[in-house]
């Protein structure tokens, strides 16, 4: 009996496999696609090489004064010289460690929260202890720390403070408003609706104006808020309305049976809402909550308009420094980079959370 050797299979033609197939399919499939591909490549050539030329090849990195910037490109010396100003604002130089350790403590508390936050009470305790510690650390006045008034706070650290306070404080208020809007009681529901729709209908800047100009008039003489606190109140009240709408969306996704089951177990209203409904609603709402937090982080830059010196305002201000005139571009590119990194990583984190909760549901 003849034995036939199996011939090795011939490989597919080169235009049906590997990178050539990919290019043919994804870049050159139709005449329109060919044109688009070339347009896209032309665009990249138009944008990227000049930018690299400006930002790296022609740029100056070392030096201490404007005179050291001799190239045609970017003057990163400016950023380097002003970096502490951009990060800490007018905070006293000797006390930078206080801001640094407040940031470090955030991670410590985060770890404690993760490993020791067993019950709801300890979680809340740890969670609310951190802002108090951080406040005393940054503001001072106790334990031999020198008081640093809030008008000295600024730069990136102020941006982070405003954003985190806004995000954290708006959450409980938002939850209450969302419960109010979903409530059966007509008066409570209408109050919540009016509040939420009013705040969402006006721009943040008008609320900041209101907080900085009108708010002091609402309280008896002698009670005075500093500018930062006013801005924080405004931002919290603003963000709460958005958080409320997002959580309401989550509440609507909860089947009625969950409410009825909680009722039939004899849980009180708050037990039902906090132990059964809210945890499920939050799961649905988390991606949008992250989105709202990113929006708030970007919106903190608006405090520039009411005269607080956040990161953008510091860069805006140093751009008009007489010995460093004409470096606006570098400053704006730097702020862009910082904001972009924060917002982009937050949005990726939101996506990760969304995916994680999605698989849980399956």
């Amino acid at each position: 009996m003849a034995v036939y050797d199996l011939k090795p299979t011939r490989e597919a033609p080169s235009n049906l496999r590997g990178p050539i197939k990919w290019v043919l399919e994804n870049l050159l499939s139709t005449p329109l696609n060919v044109a688009l591909t070339f347009l896209g490549i032309a665009f990249l050539f138009w944008v990227i090489p000049p930018f690299i030329q400006w930002a790296i090849i022609d740029a100056n990195f070392v030096g201490t004064t404007k005179a050291d910037c001799t190239g045609d490109g970017a003057c990163w010396v400016f950023i380097h010289q002003k970096l502490t100003l951009f990060i800490y604002g007018f905070y006293p130089q000797d006390d930078y460690w206080r801001i640094n350790s407040a940031v470090g403590l955030a991670f410590v508390f985060g770890a404690i929260f993760k490993y020791f936050g067993r019950s709801f009470i300890t979680k809340i305790l740890i969670f609310s202890l951190y802002p108090i510690v951080a406040y005393f650390l940054i503001s001072g006045g106790y334990f031999g720390l020198e008081t640093v008034p809030t008008d000295k706070w600024g730069g990136l650290s102020l941006t982070l403070i405003i954003a985190s306070v806004g995000i954290v404080m708006a959450f409980p208020l938002g939850v209450v408003l969302a419960f109010g809007r979903a409530s059966d009681l007509p008066i409570i529901r209408n109050i919540s609706v009016v509040y939420i729709e009013f705040i969402r209908g006006v721009p943040l800047i008008s609320i900041l104006f209101m907080a900085s100009v009108i708010l002091p008039l609402f309280f008896p003489e002698g009670v005075s808020f500093n500018k930062l606190l006013r801005a924080l109140i405004g931002i919290t009240l603003f963000q709460a309305a958005y958080v409320a709408e997002i959580i309401r969306g989550g509440l609507q996704a909860i089947p009625k049976g969950q409410y009825e089951a909680a009722d039939s177990l004899g849980l009180s209203y708050w037990q039902k809402m906090l132990l059964v409904i809210l945890p499920q609603a939050l799961k649905v709402a988390i991606p949008n909550l992250v989105g709202a937090s990113i929006a708030l982080f970007k919106d903190t830059s608006l405090v520039l308009i009411i005269g607080l010196f956040d990161l953008l305002a510091m860069v805006h201000l140093t751009g008009s420094d007489a010995s460093w005139m004409g470096f606006d571009t570098e400053g704006y590119v730097f702020v862009t980079l910082i904001f972009w990194i924060f917002c982009f990583s937050l949005s990726k984190y939101g996506k990760y959370l969304e995916d994680r909760f999605n698989t849980n549901n399956r």
Partner: protein, 384 residues
């Protein structure tokens, strides 16, 4: 029976408690407010609207003079400028957003990744930073009027703004406008007729060339018949600046650029997610019914995708309008700059002015959500 365990009673009780708390709080802050106002000698009321404002406004679409115009005129200028900048911003944001959103779904790798890059880049930068960047970096770097960049034969761009020819309509031009409106109505009628015929007989009519012919041809014919009643006032360099024509200030340009580019990212995302939300089965079902890919897009995919995409897009229009208030950072004279800025500083009547400003935005918002609700009602899937 314990009253507190009675659900009805509890409902009334807690609502009463809330109302009492709210009223007490409002009473507390208003008494404080009136006391403080009196102490500081701030005038109250809306009488200031009738007084002469006495400050100039750099751009005004309606007649305004710093000598005779009142605060109410300044208020009107502010509102109109807000509406103009929002309208123009919405127009360009929509065009850019649709292009980017469609490009995002393109099968072409480079195009799709470029639009992803565009979306991720501009979406993650604060809008205020973008406005300041366009204003302080890009537009400030433009040449002086004498070295203007010539965009087209009579369009000039320099650090004073964009200068374009100004159309001047003569009496006969009304007929051209009437013809244009008429052409649109005729086209709508034609489309309706074609749809009806399609449903009754299944015959398709290829209307596009006819519609183009009617919408372009009818006004054009009337234009020439009525003796070309339109001419242009061209901008010309006189001294240190351009005179004549129409000009758009750098503030206006920076604001519309930033708002359109920023909002377009959200519109693009809305369009992408709208189209991607359509289950694959819909496309397959359309294909198995024998529809061409154009038919399946037009008759099956888009009607469903638009239904999903429109509410977020209209929300973005609303956001754009609210974000136009950031003009105050670069001094474009819209509502917040003129009214909540200059007028407030001159009169010192913060409460009235900020309240009125908020009410204007609230009115715009409520109008837009009202329109949105109507559209949603119309778009609702009618079945069962």
């Amino acid at each position: 029976m314990n009253l507190l365990n009675n659900q009805k009673f509890r409902g009334i009780f807690f609502q009463l408690l809330t109302v009492i708390g709210l009223v007490a709080f409002l009473w507390y802050i208003t008494t404080n407010m009136f006391h403080n106002i009196e102490q500081r000698g701030i005038t109250t009321g809306f009488d200031f609207f009738g007084q002469i404002a006495g400050f100039g406004i750099s751009e005004s679409p309606i007649p305004y003079s710093d000598q005779t115009s009142t605060y109410f005129d300044a208020f009107k200028v502010g509102i109109i400028n807000t509406l103009i900048v929002s309208g123009v911003g919405i127009f360009f944001a929509s065009i850019l957003g649709v292009i980017i959103g469609v490009a995002r779904l393109s099968k072409n790798y480079i195009v799709s990744k470029l639009s992803l890059g565009y979306i991720e880049f501009f979406r993650n930068i604060p809008i205020l930073l973008q406005i300041l960047f366009w204003y302080n970096v890009v537009l400030a770097a433009l040449p002086k009027p004498r070295q203007s960049i010539q965009l087209a034969s009579d369009m000039f761009l320099n650090n004073r703004g964009l200068f374009v020819p100004k159309p001047i309509m003569e009496a006969g031009f009304t007929f051209v406008i009437i013809a244009f409106v008429l052409a649109i109505f005729v086209s709508i009628f034609l489309v309706k007729w074609a749809n009806k015929r399609f449903e009754e007989t299944g015959k398709e009519s290829f209307l596009l060339p006819w519609i183009v012919l009617i919408i372009v041809g009818l006004p054009l014919g009337v234009y020439f018949l009525s003796g070309s009643p339109l001419h242009f006032d061209y901008p010309a360099l006189k001294g240190f600046n351009f005179r004549g024509g129409m000009s758009y200030s750098p503030e206006f340009l920076a604001l519309t650029f930033a708002l359109s580019i920023y909002t377009a990212t959200y519109i693009a995302e809305a369009i992408r997610s709208g189209i991607e939300a359509i289950p694959k089965g819909q496309k397959e079902a359309a294909a198995s019914l024998g529809l061409s890919s154009y038919q399946s897009l037009k008759l099956v995919i888009l009607p469903q995708a638009i239904r999903i995409a429109i509410p977020p897009i209209i929300n973005q229009y609303l956001n754009l309008t609210k974000n136009s208030s950031l003009a105050t950072a670069i001094g474009y004279p819209e509502l917040v700059t003129v009214f909540a800025g200059t007028c407030l500083n001159q009169t010192g009547q913060a409460i009235e002015i900020i309240l009125v400003t908020m009410l204007v935005y609230l009115t715009i918002s409520l109008t837009i959500s009202f329109v949105l609700n109507i559209i949603n009602k119309k778009m609702e899937i009618k079945g069962r």
